[in-house]
Symmetry: D3
Subunit: 244 residues, 6 copies
């Protein structure tokens, strides 16, 4: 099967690292295609950038030239998943939700450790809407900006471990969710340091996507995620030409 | 003061009708400017269209050539308000929230009557995130598409009244909220027919916006709605040149 | 239009200060009438006093000799608003709710800073019933009694600022609500010191009341707030003779 | 021990019937004293009347000439219990809460059947504040006014049974709570007709009060229900002279 | 009347102490019978032990040779109460719920102080399912294992008092619930030290059970707690022969 | 990898059918072992039977002679999963939770269609504790007993389809979850008839279990699901000798 893993920002190295993380856990016969939006911010750390990314991801996916079996939206706490579900017949999996659902199999409460403090309310809102907040002990910010994760991986690990430890001791989390697509490759180190299971959203989402495809399940089309009604849509898609 | 009233779809006659409704309730010294997005759907009835509208409204507002004191986002249950709040220093008022807040001063429970059934979950989600759902008795669909409201105003009134009556008798609503910017001019008739207060979101939002400006209050910038961090944003704004 | 602003306690200087705050934000053609109950406590800081105030405010309002367009109940977290709504055809606005609703347009979460710790549960209960608690980060007590606010304004500012700062840094509030009618004139100083919007309930409520009147909206009479059924009521009103 | 059972309205026959119901379940060595407020409505069916009753009950209790071990407030869904708790050192039990708590020992969900539709939101609000609403399947109105219960007991039984049956079949209630002090003597008939346990609030509250006294437990005075602070309270109590 | 008080673990001295506490508060004509399960852990401090105890208590009760009027399940936060309700026609009272319900008559919020940290989520889950968590300020662990309570009563008091004080000052609890059947005899000391009412679950449950019996109320059999359907059950009861 | 799929009742044909359903979706290199408890009811339709099953499943699993990588508990809405998590180091997946989580990727709301009405509250409680109830539109009973599903598969399909249709039209479910392990092979027919995705818990749980194993994730042992403390446990396990 083929799964599109959509980065939400325009930083190609981040797409590459997300795709690599996806490939590391995918089944041998699963093809992972990383796609990068053609417009938007080089990192998403707020609502404006997240809304722009929502449209940019939809734009990339509808411009994608080829068949695919599922889409993973690889931004933590970002907007847009519902739009993709309307536009596509294949399953769409948001890493925010896949990570939370996965964590809930592993402990009584989980916490998310993310990048900047300003991203915390976005993540809290996404989990609330997804109905996955009830067992969320806390969403904590490491203070690292998205692009700093790649630049300063050691500092990132330290900052994330510190918050993960507080989540476990203060907030009574039993599982840690990495709240950023760019943290994908840090999970091993953090797991060792914190002594609790660590869930990376990209990895979790790829396995959810594979499972849905194998079960023959996809988005329900009877109400919320029915295809858009036929109507005049000016300027869509925003960009033209095949994304590969 | 000057208030931008942003239509979420590309139908100019709807912008005109929304602006007229806004002017009908605005203070004498308030200038109302209706703006129409330069891309997007001619009506918003789902997540894809709503996300596109979110970006299109932001695009229009940042391209607007002139000063203004507040923005009203005139789409019921639509995405995007949080992005505008980050981009602007002036207050931003979403008609979904203004109508609900206003209704809550008038009765123990309120119901929303909207257009199509598929819009109901979007509205429910917006109210939930806004923390205004606790006293919402129901969100009901009239079955009228957005553009049908203008084409068939009489049928629209009938369909809306029928659901409003059910909201009052079955769901125990004491106030009706009109769940679509395009229903602006129907409130009088529905009020007469249903015997309960009817709140139009555009009217409510204009008065909230005026009040915030008069009180010298605007969006808090300490966390969620801080201005976007300086970074590379490709392709933004989507369109160029002054919107007036 | 004419708005009655009802103090909940029997301290005339507090009525005067509340009325002055109301006049400072009211439209030029709005007449503000401060009324003081004829019985009850000189300050309300608990349930007994609050219940007594509820009846004393209703007693004053039904004894008021003249027409009016709306009533603002100017006690934070007090009982009684629902009773006034039954007795009157004009809109009734409680400063507790007006302040919370207003704060919710300005930030993701708000906190209330009030007087004594014992008032906190009353306020929490009022916000819960009003369905406005979901985005309330915290209700914090400054430790200042109601009458101390007038006697020691500088100490009051210090105590309130200290709690407001904790609300912002610890509880992640983005907006501060002043949780006492007697704090009306402190908002400017606190705003400057805390860097977040500060909402005074009296000011917020006057503008909500004006807005409802301008929109031609008033309390729904179909269920909860229908006029009392005709029956024998012994000893009502408690006092006799016109309140002016 | 001696328990004051406070009627919330001024109808003496109702006080008598409530006291009789209380005596029927009280322990042999428990003295039941029914008290009737000296002002207020002959029946409570709304917020104004309920707020007035709250003060009238407090007025009666503080004027009561003699010692007592507990107070039962015998109005369903009425205001005022918190005020009594501040004024007294002995336990105060509200029949609304005692009935709900008792019902929760008997089935997964319970429903309340009350008098008029307009009383429903008051009861819902009281249960919500008491934190006892989570397992409440519904609050249903029989359409019988309070005083009609005495006048037309047969019609009352029919009307209440009809709603109780709907509560069981439609709302999945497993226990019925009688939502009015004046329904005290109807419980047997309704139990027989509906096949589910029927809880009368007066009976439940008397046994809760006895239990608290036997356990040596009374209201916590550390915060919400601390005695009122010493201050000037004009016109209190409202009436003078011993209530017996 | 006769009440079976079922210990959840196999430690006979704990059964004795629980029965003694029950007798201390029971009415003179109430016979208390302590029963000890014939299999399971010597103390319950986790889900496995609690599930085993659930079955062991049911096994003891169905093997009990004689009539009885009610059962008290004397384990705090343990599984199994719903099963007993299906198997029996007499009322079943869980000390977890009886203590919480009793505490709610006494203050705005209560906290539970229990044994080990690992028991906290079990108690939280039980309170949540019982719909009694809304006014629970916190569940705190003293760090004392169940059997240490008997061995080191002085250290137990110190450890429990420390958490109770934190519950009052930090979590704003106004009442303390002792979250372990084995804490039964510590309530007096803790009450003195903390200045707030202290509720022991065994005592509370015995009085609830007596009250239900006196009111002629028992478990509803129309749905959730209907008797098991006739069917083949292999190996039940687990043990044979009369429990006395 | 090897996954134990534990039936909760003692009916061997049901174990076989569950195991067959598991094998139908498992990866080629996954070995599925169906296990049947050695005591308990031939079908679980209430709390007593469910509690007994909880212990019987734990008894089987600890008696299982051999290594395994994960356990699926294949009873819908049953007790016991938390106990298994304490006893084992490998992941434990409950079909109730796996089905709900899977359904949430596919639509805005899901409904469960189960067997008898008396099972509904158990399922609701399990979903509530799991924090997966927020997007559950309803739990509906088909009226078919567990063992009737095998005996009358055609009637079962009819009865389930009828409730599924009501869930979609009345309750606004967009996805149907089959709320019984014994419905495993009916999903295709129901999907065709209802036009919405249908999720079978056994299939969903097997893929979740495989995913957790592939991700190297298992139950957190830091708090709720830590291994039982060493202590005397009388009569455990209940049965002796290898389960294969």
């Amino acid at each position: 099967m083929k799964i599109l893993v959509a980065n939400v920002n325009t930083t190609q190295t981040m797409t590459d690292s997300i795709a690599a993380q996806a490939r590391a856990v995918a089944a041998p016969d699963t093809e992972i295609v990383g796609i990068t939006p053609r417009f938007g911010a080089d990192s998403c750390e707020g609502n404006f950038e997240s809304y722009l990314a929502a449209i940019a991801v939809m734009d990339s996916v509808v411009n994608y030239d080829g068949e695919f079996d599922a889409v993973v939206q690889a931004g933590y706490g970002e907007h847009g998943r519902e739009g993709l579900q309307e536009l596509l017949d294949v399953p769409v999996v948001d890493i925010t939700e896949a990570a939370a659902s996965t964590a809930m199999y592993l402990g009584h409460k989980y916490s998310v450790v993310t990048t900047l403090d300003r991203a915390v309310p976005l993540i809290e809102d996404r989990l609330k809407l997804a109905g996955l907040d009830d067992r969320c002990a806390s969403v904590r910010a490491s203070g690292m900006a998205v692009l700093e994760l790649e630049e300063h991986p050691e500092r990132a690990v330290e900052a994330i471990v510190r918050q993960a430890e507080l989540a476990v001791t203060e907030d009574k989390a039993e599982v840690i969710v990495l709240g950023c697509g760019g943290m994908a490759n840090l999970d091993e180190q953090i797991r060792e340091r914190c002594g609790v299971p660590v869930v990376d959203g990209v990895a979790a989402a790829v396995l959810v996507a594979e499972s849905l495809v194998r079960l023959g399940l996809s988005t329900s089309k009877v109400r919320t995620y029915a295809a858009p009604r036929p109507k005049t849509v000016i300027g869509w898609p925003i960009t033209q030409g095949p994304v590969r």
